[in-house]
């Protein structure tokens, strides 16, 4: 046990790092939900396209031999910006083609449509990258390869980028939604779509914009993922998306700070569970085999005991 405890700081760090990744993906889920009360299941695939866009940018920079000569920060920012742009475009297109025609339909209909879009995008990515690069499992050119060692804890530089980006994205989004005029319009649409329309707000435009911003967030998360794990494939969105969705529900869906908090806690739970379930049960249960179960156990517990999540307000059901 002594030996097991000595790795606790490293495990908490690992958990925090993966938690920030969950958090930035969860932000996209929670934002769309906040406005439309609709879970955009295609968000995980928009994230995946962002990762591929970031990958393509880095590949291009590598081909032009710029990665080695330019400051790493320039490569990173370029990759993230292009990914945000691509993912925002996909987010907009998805809303226009798959959700808007179904706006008056019962709630389950757009949900099914979202799942359909998600499968479509997965296979679409598979087709694109099999055709252009021969294989859709791609290794991303590495930037920020170093790491800091603090005592017994090892923190890769890439992980710190995700943490900084997570905080920036959360505060940026909170500022955008609460302080800008467009944000105010978004909140109005979220509260009452019909009345907002009567007040002169172009509801369709605001909803489109929500998907553009949500897509851009997903794209940035994707590019950061590509940099962090230096490996992309069309299926990276699935598990991460489920976990991020869990994180969003955990923190209180619709609440931006809640999404980040939920992501961090989920990441830490998962890391602790994976590392200590084995020793605690004397090797009967292997932690890594049950890794995904922790996330979904949390989801079930939250839904049973505090359906509104940690920071969510109890709102009247609008179904």
């Amino acid at each position: 046990m002594q030996e097991q405890l000595s790795i606790l700081p490293q495990i908490l760090t690992d958990g925090l790092i993966i938690g920030f990744l969950y958090a930035i993906v969860a932000l996209g889920y929670t934002m769309v939900y906040g406005v439309l009360e609709f879970i955009n299941f295609a968000h995980s695939e928009i994230f995946m396209f962002g990762a591929f866009a970031g990958f393509e940018v880095l590949m291009l920079l590598q081909k032009l031999n710029l990665i080695a000569t330019m400051p790493e920060l320039v490569s990173l920012v370029l990759a993230v910006l292009v990914a945000m742009f691509v993912a925002a475009a996909i987010g907009w297109t998805v809303e226009r083609t798959a959700y808007r025609p179904l706006r008056g339909a019962p709630r389950l209909v757009p949900l099914i449509s979202a799942i359909g879009v998600s499968f479509f995008l997965q296979d679409f990515a598979r087709v694109i990258w099999t055709a252009t690069r021969g294989n859709f499992h791609q290794a991303v050119p590495a930037i920020y390869t170093g790491s800091w060692t603090i005592g017994s804890i090892q923190v890769p530089h890439r992980a710190v980028i995700i943490m900084i980006a997570g905080v920036v994205m959360m505060y940026g989004l909170i500022w955008f939604v609460n302080k800008t005029k467009v944000g105010k319009a978004m909140r109005a649409v979220a509260q009452d779509r019909a009345t907002a329309g009567l007040m002169g707000i172009n509801v369709d435009r605001i909803i489109s914009l929500t998907f553009v911003v949500g897509g851009a967030l997903g794209g940035a998360a994707g590019a950061l993922f590509a940099v962090r794990y230096t490996s992309v494939n069309p299926y990276i969105g699935f598990i991460l998306g489920m976990k991020a969705f869990t994180a969003a529900v955990f923190g209180g869906i619709g609440n931006l700070a809640g999404a980040v908090m939920g992501g961090l806690l989920l990441g830490i739970f998962e890391a602790l569970g994976t590392a200590y379930l084995g020793p605690l049960t004397n090797g009967v249960l292997r932690g890594s085999e049950y890794k995904d179960i922790f996330a979904f156990l949390v989801l079930i517990l939250v839904l049973v005991f505090k359906p509104s999540g940690l920071l969510g307000q109890t709102t009247s059901e609008k179904v």
């Binding site: 030996e3 097991q4 000595s6 790795i7 490293q10 495990i11 690992d14 958990g15 790092i17 993966i18 990744l21 083609t97 025609p101 598979r126 099999t130 021969g134 294989n135 499992h137 290794a139 590495a142 390869t145 790491s147 090892q154 890769p156 993922f225 794990y229 230096t230 490996s231 494939n233 299926y235 990276i236 699935f238 598990i239 991460l240 998962e270 890391a271 994976t274 590392a275 084995g278 090797g283 292997r286 932690g287 890594s288 085999e289 890794k291 995904d292």
Partner: protein
């Protein structure tokens, strides 16, 4: 928008109908006998590198033997099927193959899990299977008359890998992970059994499973570093293996990475970063591409498919050739007659001493290849395929 949707749906329906129609064109006539050899492997998805290699190998075998087949009045066609490496797709594919009367043999599968659902569904049709890759022990222990494989089983490959870790890689302790599939878990279990017998310490009991669709393995890597194991054995396929190896290397793991034939693909080098040159894998073929025939195979493969073959391409090639041999020998004895599936099934099982590219193929009464050997490879200078370190005794 609605019109567009309607048009799209009509189009997809048409495509589906056309697809069904194409598969059904049956019957044979005249003096030439028209037959098909199907391959069942993942052609898309994370394991497509291996699956496509097998399908291409089978195609190449049919192409190479065209003249021999025509001499005995047989026209043979490949029929590649995509199983996505999902066991649930086995029965569907089986129905399709059994229904197509021209299908006389099946090369496949890549994954033992898929074979477990495909083999029972093909049994009643007497449709012969020759697997270029399945290693799960149970497949040939089920008493199937139609199921054969050219590679060594888990209970041969797993223990061989354990001996290689102790004797060649010279590690004293090892951490064992697997991907919770029929193949990976079976291999890991056999590895652990032998490791305990020869005094190699396994630091995590009987090994533990990871989710092969995950991207983050930091927790398990932290455990690996904490246990101070000198080697990491992974029972599974190259895609997840590469991710785990890379993350372990980045966190400062200095030991060796070991796996079996599931790692035998170019992507293991491309995607495992700094870990690549410490990757060892076992394979049933020794340095195929070093021989003259092997080099010629690589050339023909490259000309036909514009890519470098994974070792599995050779297994696919050999598996198809075993079936082709059976067809030719039947046609020689019964000129002009269409063989039944049972005829070919019996002829394949009777294969003895067939000289394949990867090695000799014979089948015992269970459908195992007693001539299969296991060799150890190490990736060197970040190039694929790895350098052979010789047969594991």
């Amino acid at each position: 928008m609605k019109k567009l949707l309607a048009a799209l749906m009509t189009l997809s329906l048409l495509v589906m109908i056309a697809g069904c129609g194409g598969a059904k064109s049956g019957g044979s006539g005249g003096t030439t006998v028209k037959l098909k050899i199907a391959s069942v492997t993942p052609l898309s998805g994370g394991q497509s590198t291996l699956g496509t290699a097998i399908a291409n190998g089978a195609k190449l075998a049919i192409e190479d033997r065209k003249a021999d087949l025509e001499a005995v009045g047989v026209v043979l066609e490949p029929l590649p099927q995509d199983d996505l490496a999902e066991p649930t797709n086995g029965p569907t594919i089986a129905t399709r193959l059994v229904g197509d009367k021209e299908v006389i043999g099946v090369v496949g599968t890549l994954n033992s899990g898929v074979a477990k659902t495909l083999a029972p569904a093909l049994k009643d049709a007497n449709l012969v299977m020759v697997s270029p890759a399945n290693t799960a022990v149970i497949l040939t222990e089920s008493g199937y008359p139609h199921y054969n494989r050219i590679v060594a089983r888990d209970d041969y490959q797993g223990p061989a890998a354990a001996r290689a870790v102790k004797n060649t890689i010279k590690a004293k302790s090892v951490m064992v992970l697997h991907d919770k599939t029929e193949y990976g878990q079976g291999l890991a279990a056999e590895f652990v059994k032998e490791a305990k017998k020869i005094g190699l310490t396994v630091v995590n009991g009987d090994g533990e499973g990871v989710n092969p669709k995950d991207s983050d393995f930091s927790a398990v890597v932290t455990n690996l570093l904490n246990t101070k194991a000198e080697a990491l054995f992974y029972g599974g396929i190259y895609d997840t293996a590469a991710l785990i190896f890379k993350q372990a290397d980045e966190k400062g793991f200095k030991g060796s990475f070991v796996g079996a034939d599931g790692l035998d693909a170019e992507d293991i080098v491309k995607n495992s970063g700094g870990a690549a040159n410490r990757v060892y894998y076992t394979s049933v073929a020794d340095n195929v591409y070093g021989s003259k025939d092997g080099a010629a195979f690589v050339e023909r493969y490259d000309a036909a498919f514009k890519s470098k073959p994974a070792t599995y391409a050779v297994y696919g090639y050999d598996s198809a050739n075993v079936i082709i041999e059976a067809i030719i020998s039947y046609a020689k004895k019964n000129p002009g007659k269409t063989p039944t599936r049972a005829d070919i099934m019996k002829a394949v099982r009777a294969t003895k001493g067939f000289k394949g590219l990867a090695g000799e193929v014979s089948f015992d009464n269970k459908g195992d290849n007693p001539s299969a050997k296991v060799y150890l490879f190490q990736i060197q200078n970040s190039t694929y395929p790895g350098a052979s370190l010789g047969e594991i005794k």
